[in-house]
């Protein structure tokens, strides 16, 4: 039975939002053990294509390629996904299973879980090994800052952005990045293969 009034619900929501705000720079629980160069020190609350909440640092423990995109983008963003798929195909199938892929949207206003799910389905992405996610605008800026990705919202609600695939090791340290789009970056693939082989 749900007896909570609308006011009660909005009060709860306000408290929840305040808490999220208050913790936006708080360390994640395991932060004490993370390397000082770990991207996972940045707490980024995300919502994935199925509407599930998660944190960037939840990807700790497994190598991850992270990049940024937005679903209404028709120029580089489909190419970013193409490049990611081609990069994966350059790996042995077994090695691929040891890798997670995370794409975070620049467009926090329009990219809700439904929009993300549509792209995941359309591109037949290997969910949940692949995650498409959104976060609030202030967190998009922080994530792009930590990853060294530039973006700018234009007046027509398009986004200008640089494209980079960033490879994080299990502890969230950046081990390689590629600015190549539309072709497989062999140096990046070698770095990936080395990381996944655990050598």
């Amino acid at each position: 039975m749900n007896t909570m009034s609308d006011q009660g619900r909005s009060a709860m929501l306000a408290i929840l939002l305040a808490l999220i705000g208050a913790f936006s720079f708080a360390s994640v629980p395991e932060a004490a053990e993370l390397p000082t160069t770990s991207v996972y020190r940045l707490d980024v609350p995300l919502v994935d294509q199925d509407g599930n909440g998660l944190h960037l640092a939840d990807r700790r423990g497994k190598p991850l390629i992270v990049s940024m995109f937005y679903t209404s983008c028709h120029n580089v963003c489909p190419l970013t996904i193409d490049t990611l798929l081609a990069t994966e195909r350059a790996l042995a199938p077994n090695a691929r299973l040891g890798l997670d892929v995370l794409l975070v949207s620049f467009d926090s206003e329009r990219d809700d879980p439904l929009a993300l799910k549509r792209v995941a389905d359309l591109r037949k992405l290997d969910v949940p090994r692949w995650t498409l996610a959104r976060t609030e605008a202030a967190n998009v800026r922080k994530l792009s800052a930590v990853l060294g990705i530039q973006y700018r919202e234009l007046a027509n609600r398009e986004f200008n952005h640089s494209s980079a695939l960033v490879l994080l090791d299990a502890e969230g340290r950046m081990v390689a990045r590629s600015d190549t789009v539309g072709a497989v970056d062999q140096k990046f693939v070698s770095a990936l293969a080395t990381l996944l082989s655990g050598k």
């Binding site: 770990s38 120029n75 800026r141 930590v146 990705i149 973006y151 027509n156 986004f159 494209s163 600015d179």
Partner: protein, 264 residues
């Protein structure tokens, strides 16, 4: 003779006023509006629109940043992780919790990373200003909201750029512009929230030639008002930075959206 009570009141207020410059930041209100930025809003030639906002009257000082670091020790230079602040973060201070003689209380804090500046502003329920907000406020002089076309205005700023960067920084509190904001020019460079949104191509030849593969959308920005070096130099400097970087002449101030404080 009895001292008039009004005088003692004003002395009390003056004392409080001095204290408040350290503990409660002074923000000035700007109504915003449409203006021609050096960075076109549509990537080509469009005007930028700035919503009403408040801006700290002066850059954040060493004393203010020290109070923040003491309350939030995770931002001490010996505690902050490398991913948020490079090794030179707060390196001008004599100790992690003391600016020392080389960094006086009323000088603007420098050697701060974007993450540290953002954390400071969040702590006072603010954020860094966007580039457009900063540029809008900095277009003013003491009497005009937009002095940018005045060659004398440009010349004054360029004279500052020409000063050696090794000279000691002045204290905050230079001449107020028409909004009451001080030191937007002539003291330090300042971080903006969207420092990594400036997407300026290092190569002039790419401008106006959509470089689809590097920048999804409209390509590298076409800069406007190329004669306005005074402002363009800021853009060039900011676009060269990484978020963990810190430099000797780079400080910050904070901004808040809207003209009235939200109910806490």
């Amino acid at each position: 003779m009895r001292r008039p009570p009004a005088l003692s009141m004003s002395i009390a207020c003056a004392v409080l006023g001095v204290a408040s410059t350290v503990y409660a930041a002074d923000y000035v209100s700007l109504a915003g509006g449409t203006f021609t930025s050096v960075l076109p809003a549509d990537g080509k030639a469009g005007d930028a629109t700035v919503a009403p906002f408040r801006l700290r009257a002066t850059p954040v000082t060493n004393a203010e940043f020290l109070a923040f670091v003491r309350a939030h020790p995770q931002w001490r230079r010996d505690h902050s992780p490398a991913v948020f602040a490079e090794s030179r973060y707060l390196s001008s201070w004599s100790a992690p919790d003391a600016p020392g003689p080389a960094a006086s209380s009323e000088q603007p804090v420098t050697w701060v990373s974007w993450f540290a500046a953002q954390a400071f502003c969040e702590n006072e329920r603010a954020r860094l200003p966007t580039w457009y907000e900063w540029e809008f406020a900095a277009a003013a002089d003491a009497t005009r909201t937009d002095a940018r076309a005045d060659p004398a205005w440009r010349e004054r700023i360029l004279t500052w750029y020409a000063r050696p960067s090794t000279a000691a920084l002045a204290s905050v509190g230079g001449e107020a512009n028409v909004y009451g904001a001080r030191d937007l020019h002539g003291l330090v460079w300042e971080w903006v929230d969207d420092f990594n949104a400036l997407l300026v191509s290092a190569d002039n030849r790419e401008q106006g030639d959509p470089d689809m593969l590097r920048f999804c959308g409209a390509g590298a920005l076409t800069l406007q008002q190329r004669e306005n070096y005074a402002v363009l130099m800021r853009v060039a400097m900011l676009s060269s930075l990484k978020a963990a970087d810190a430099t000797a002449n780079l400080g910050f101030r904070c901004a808040k959206p809207g003209l009235i404080e939200d109910a806490p």
